[in-house]
Symmetry: C3
Subunit: 324 residues, 3 copies
């Protein structure tokens, strides 16, 4: 399993989306069209959601090897609103037999004429490994892969930025938190690089800083105030309490909220029209103040809302690319 | 979270059902119309169930924080037979972070355009707390709340009584068992008070008797034979073996079936045309004799049957009230 | 619960399929028509699956008391592709209260107008016990019963053999592995006896050999090479590592793959056009060499593929038999 591998497999010979593994490798035009399509699937909260028959008769299998409520619900609703049949499979596999059982599971579901696999896994390389083993009529969508990639999250973040800012070019974007383990930061970073000339600032406590080779051109810092100053977009990442404990030697005496939390005071350092994002689920008053999460600059529920539309767009795109 | 709170939020300004938290506060006319609607959704067992498109394009999320097979299946089938998309979410949350995570979950699902939350929780006040935090286009249905309320169970019990007795007025209704912890008794009691001039007799072992302030006008007793005598309706409640054990000091030497079980001999004390009810699941030959549960006076499967129709009526009602 | 019991209950008075418990008792004509129907539901992998409205408005409950990913997914997709509403219920019951709770669950779901119960259970007799207690409008399908019966697996095996061999008559079929505990071997054996004059060879290590009274006419042996020689069909059964350990005294010093694995060398002893089958999930390089499982003679994914079509045929058949 090669986690950097040849991602050209994402597109078919006609340049259409066959699988979605990472944003890297997709063109600006391609992503723009995908976001346009997602926007067309968007209806106001409180109004009935958009529906379409494009997946009528198709089967989408949610294959989650890592638990998830939000992302799975988002994919499930996206698929159902496109009239697909949905199969939910929460699979627990011991790591010892995983590689072998995984393929067996894929071959089995493929033989049952599953059309799309939505895969979440805690190990790097699994979604790509699956793409290498499926038949040409099957698509694989990465729904979260270790600390490597979460492309539909990246797309929904881009969609939300574009919606509010009117552009994804020339922006200063600050991401705060456990960058070292964040597939959300990875995918958003890839997207921002493709979409325009954006400045990316990555803020983390020393023990949780990014591998700089994975973020070419980005500013890596532990100076949160400096990094928030003048930003157009500020995203706080979920911090896992276990991880702080684990890094206790690096963070002795640290009060995470005081030192790395997105507080109201800190947000005032950003541009007055800056927007606040979070991939969820949130620890209020840990990485983000409750007042900021619920405040007027927050677009956090808009991210969730856009997530369903983005997943509908991706499901529709891969389904069309498989039709001959 | 205020468990007695202002329940007027159940109805919108036009008097239509917005949320369903408790029966208390609903009018006799309102409940009658709801039961009429449920009756219209009823088809004979063995015939295809009623179907309707009233929830086409709508999304119902079953948010069960307490496990349940029967009630969840009943709501799931009701929603599907009205053509809704159904999302099943079994959520385990530690109590420490629950309040916070709960709202996060609700906001997330609401942003995904879920229309109706069906909520079951072991803590009092949760369904109402959710109603206070959702947007106007969302409805919340209480599917079982601690020992406080189970309104669709109350409605299906009323529907069953009306169906067999022809009225819900002037009846003597005896409920036997762990009244202290019974949301079923609470909701039926509220319903009987609204629907007519009924006599309610609550029978329990001393350690499990009701708080009299919660059952104004009811007769509280441990004299089971006296309470069954002349009754039109006799309902046995599930007794949890754990609870008997826990109250061992109060019930030393007690044989529950002998002392508080609904036996054939005891049932003969009721009116000859008395009906036997149980909310399920049953412990046969503990709180109810198998022969009574399966006997000619039992309407227990009819209760289950009516449950789907009642939930269809409630889902249809709240959906209409949200349409502008 | 009588596990041999009167299976005539499988057919209604008009000879149509009412329940499916075992293949034994069905006629050659009947099975042929069922396989023809399944074949009509078959579309090529990579093409959209067959769909039909024959279960529109019907409810199928998957009642799995034993975990299963593949069989449940297969039944779920079969039911959805016939337009049924599907209810998934994974039920854990302690053995002590099982008999009682089981009926309670069945009565409850029946009252909710479930039309078909798909039942998997680790105890013998449970599916038949359920058929004895349901109303005439309900059908029960056995989806795996202890070591006794797995009739839809038997049908999909027959379908696959017929598809590739053109007949199910005059064949030599060798099954290798833990025959003693295999419901797959039991059902295939019943099917082969009904369908023609076939020779069945059952190979197992001594501790895991079949009860000969259950396989009249079959050859029971531990001589794997002799049993594979000249075979038309070779099926390897999953061997559970726990079981090998448990029988350690009988199998001391045994290397399962060397002694009882279906290797490439062994397969060369069979007819040149022999096919290789496995009910899955496989332990590659334990009971079957990876190269054999993925080789040109393997029809293992075809078995899975046919499984959905067979289950659609069975669901359609029982639904028609219940229509008056």
């Amino acid at each position: 399993m090669n986690q950097t591998g040849n991602l050209s497999a994402q597109l078919d010979e006609a340049g259409r989306l066959r699988h979605l593994l990472r944003l890297q490798g997709l063109s600006r035009t391609f992503i723009t069209e995908l976001l346009d399509r997602a926007t067309a699937f968007q209806t106001e909260v409180g109004k009935p959601p958009a529906r379409d028959n494009v997946l009528r008769g198709r089967t989408v299998a949610n294959l989650f090897f890592e638990p998830s409520t939000r992302t799975r619900a988002s994919f499930e609703l996206a698929a159902k609103r496109l009239s697909a049949d949905v199969l939910n499979l929460d699979v627990n596999m011991s790591s010892r037999t995983k590689g072998e059982s995984l393929l067996d599971t894929i071959y089995t579901l493929q033989a049952m004429q599953v059309d799309v696999f939505v895969v979440r896994d805690a190990s790097a390389g699994i979604p790509e490994y699956i793409t290498e083993n499926v038949i040409p009529q099957v698509s694989v969508l990465n729904a979260g892969e270790a600390d490597v990639s979460h492309p539909t999250q990246g797309l929904l973040d881009l969609m939300t930025i574009r919606e509010v800012k009117g552009t994804i070019d020339g922006l200063t974007v600050t991401i705060i938190g456990d960058i070292a383990h964040s597939r959300v930061a990875r995918s958003l970073s890839e997207g921002l690089t493709i979409m325009g000339n954006n400045e990316l600032r990555l803020v983390s406590p020393d023990g949780l800083s990014a591998d700089p080779t994975l973020y070419p051109g980005a500013i890596l810092t532990s100076d949160i105030d400096g990094a928030v100053e003048g930003a157009d977009v500020v995203m706080a990442l979920r911090i896992q309490r276990e991880r702080i404990k684990e890094k206790a030697n690096l963070m002795t005496g640290m009060d995470y909220h005081r030192d790395f939390g997105l507080t109201e005071a800190r947000l005032r350092l950003a541009k007055p029209d800056a927007i606040v994002m979070h991939p969820g689920p949130m620890n209020r008053d840990v990485e983000i103040a409750g007042a900021v999460a619920d405040g007027p600059q927050s677009v956090i529920t808009q991210q969730v809302h856009n997530g369903v539309a983005v997943r509908m767009a991706v499901l529709a795109a891969v389904t069309e690319s498989r039709q001959k």
